[in-house]
Symmetry: C2
Subunit: 430 residues, 2 copies
């Protein structure tokens, strides 16, 4: 998914394209877009408190050992293991109490044969320590410590650098930081990291019939849904979506809004106007805006068909169908992998291997994408198809994932194992 | 996971507890906490633009049909189906062009036999329409439309209420809103919804050896990691975490900080001081703060052992081990399901059914939680164990999920199917 070698960058890539590819498969469409270099997201420094979910814009190498010193895993006594070997309740080992390690302080103590030094969990060990006796396996008086069990005493030492060694490469550039990863960054002494900026993605919606959410409908009008849903999905994917005012189905209006979006954002998504009707100005407006222009117009997939994939310079432009289900499903299938290239990543979600709860019948001429709910079954996850037409947004609104029915298959049998691709969302609580 | 019937609320529940349960299983610990009523999250109104990922605090019922009127699925001509039945290239049907539907406008047109009216995709259909002919299956002159193919013309009408019917219950209270769900809310005329407030969860960290992220370490000191990582995980789970300044291992200092956190937040997490050592003030401080106090102290699980689960009034309090791996794993296993009860939810994540890449050996006395990476295999997901000690945060920092090795099993065989529980995170890009 990087610029093809030897094509000489964008000029070479432009030279390879003459007319837009029509009715390609999804895979062909992505491959065609992959020939063009894409603007890379810039980077920024963020505090660890806001780093979770962000994508590393740097490789991270440890500058220091973790831990930097030998530590005790338990509350107890530092000992020399050979002094206490075989100690038992019947034959306790007797050691001289030679001091105490203070938590979080330097220890200047050195352990000598016959001595025990009290250590708290996590405390730095005295020089010479080779074992630690748990406090519950001891008794003590003012000067002596009696050891009743010394088994495994050498397993209770956290050795220096046993978690991280200075110079070790911890995270590659492009790693999406998890909660534990932010903790590990803190452990190696980091307070802020370089992450990729969230690329700004313009969301343009065109359609004379559309009315903003909450406003009253006139006859023949419907509420605008794609701007709301596409914006939410982009944010869940890690982008910074920016909605533009609704655009009428007039070419000049769309061209003006598109030019503005191109100049203000890193990528542009246009919902609506992507087909070949009289009111479908999206392909022409994109074509006029710059080179290389429209790369793919229409995909052989359902939902999907009227999709436009384009590049204006290094800016990806994706024209989604006005139909909300088609728009969201194509956003996942096409826009997401294209836009993730701005992070130098391609989309490679781990599918959920699930058993199909009922058969899916689909015409064999197209690749189909079916919305499913994922539910727990006795034998692992079950994919429950939500069947209906692609104009039914309520189906997608209750779906967890998408199952692909391959072109030529005609459907999938009930009980077959399928790879369900989870829909992007910020979090899921059942 | 609600208050046991007949116990008379919190007083009854308090009466049932005398001394904290010790060394219970995780399941027993959750069941014990489930006996106590938990503070419910309040609600707030949010705009659809910020509703994704939030949890509905209301049931949503559609106030209107979607769509409210019959619409065309294609650009073409509205017809009466019986007028064009059997039309073909050889024997086209000829209709009189009787007008055009404007997009997003009321149509006052009525279709009569022998007539065709031009309609755009999504346009409102004239009264009497029973079929739509695709524009590519027609030709027209100034007054007439010639129909060359009328097959399936009655399948191109989106019927009123075919997506949503007025009065239909769309979402239950407690639904976590997906991108498509926000779109569907817009479609039914909603501009803002009632969601649960994100409950505030205090994050208190105690430990004399701890130094804030980025500050230089003295001898015997380590960087504080749990506040950073626990905060990030809570945010990923949908809570509003609030970090408090580091607390020294002194009982009065911890008590002061804890009282303040209790008064300012809905729930409190204390990292560190949860064991039974001299410096472990967490259980005593909680016990002194109010009723019912400590419910569980210590669980029979690894990582896990020194965990404190408590209730002060209706506020959950969870004491996590200072060890960062134990803290994060117990946050997932115990704190998450307890805190989700504030949304009137319990945690029920869909596990990933995966094949274990190598055998895990574990002592049979405890339930073990093993960090795994999930990778794609030819036969579905593969769980790759990240073996090491529970003091190695770098292991959890590279993990995707947790696999439970049941108590008594002694381990899991290589190649066995396991249920991997994904770790909470805002998003995952591989």
């Amino acid at each position: 998914m990087t610029c093809a070698p030897g094509t000489g960058g964008i000029e070479g890539a432009i030279a390879t394209i003459r007319t837009p590819l029509r009715r390609t498969t999804i895979a062909q469409a992505l491959a065609a877009m992959g020939e063009f270099p894409v603007r890379r997201a810039g980077t920024q420094r963020v505090d660890l408190d806001t780093a979770e979910g962000r994508i590393l814009g740097q490789e991270v190498t440890a500058a220091q050992d973790v831990p930097a010193f030998a530590r005790s895993m338990v509350d107890g006594y530092a000992v020399i293991a050979s002094d206490v070997r075989g100690a038992s309740r019947h034959e306790p080992a007797t050691l001289t109490l030679a001091g105490e390690v203070a938590m979080g302080k330097a220890t200047l103590l050195t352990l000598r044969h016959g001595e025990a030094i009290a250590v708290p969990t996590g405390g730095a060990l005295p020089v010479g320590t080779t074992g630690i006796i748990k406090i519950e396996d001891t008794k003590k008086d003012a000067e002596r410590v009696f050891v009743y069990d010394a088994d495994d005493c050498d397993d209770r030492i956290t050795q220096p650098a046993s978690d991280v060694r200075a110079g070790e490469r911890l995270f590659a550039r492009g790693t999406c930081l998890s909660p534990a990863a932010t903790g590990l960054l803190a452990a190696i002494g980091v307070a802020e990291v370089t992450v990729y900026r969230m690329p700004s993605v313009a969301v343009l919606v065109t359609g004379d019939e559309l009315v903003p959410a909450g406003e009253p409908l006139g006859p023949g009008q419907i509420h605008e849904t794609n701007g709301i849903a596409v914006r939410a999905a982009l944010a869940a994917m890690g982008f910074a979506p920016r909605r533009y005012p609704l655009v009428a189905d007039r070419r000049e209006a769309l061209a003006r809004s598109f030019e503005r979006a191109l100049s203000e954002c890193d990528a542009v998504i246009i919902s609506g106007g992507s087909s070949v009707g009289l009111r479908d100005h999206t392909p022409a407006v994109i074509a006029q805006a710059g080179q290389p222009g429209v790369i793919v117009h229409g995909v052989r997939a359902k939902p999907g068909r009227p999709v436009v994939l384009a590049m204006i310079g290094d800016q990806p432009v994706i024209g989604l169908p006005g139909n909300p289900v088609s728009a969201l499903v194509m956003l996942e299938a096409l826009a997401k992998p294209i836009l993730l290239r701005m992070f130098d990543r391609h989309d490679d979600p781990l599918p959920v291997r699930a058993r199909l709860e009922q058969a899916i019948v689909a015409d064999a001429e197209l690749e189909h994408r079916i919305a499913v709910q994922l539910v727990a079954g006795s034998d692992g996850p079950v994919a429950r198809p939500l069947l209906g037409s692609s104009s039914q947004l309520h189906i997608l609104a209750h779906a967890d994932a998408i199952v692909i029915v391959p072109e030529g298959s005609g459907g999938l049998a009930s009980g077959s194992l399928v790879d369900a691709l989870p829909l992007s969302r910020t979090r899921s609580i059942r």
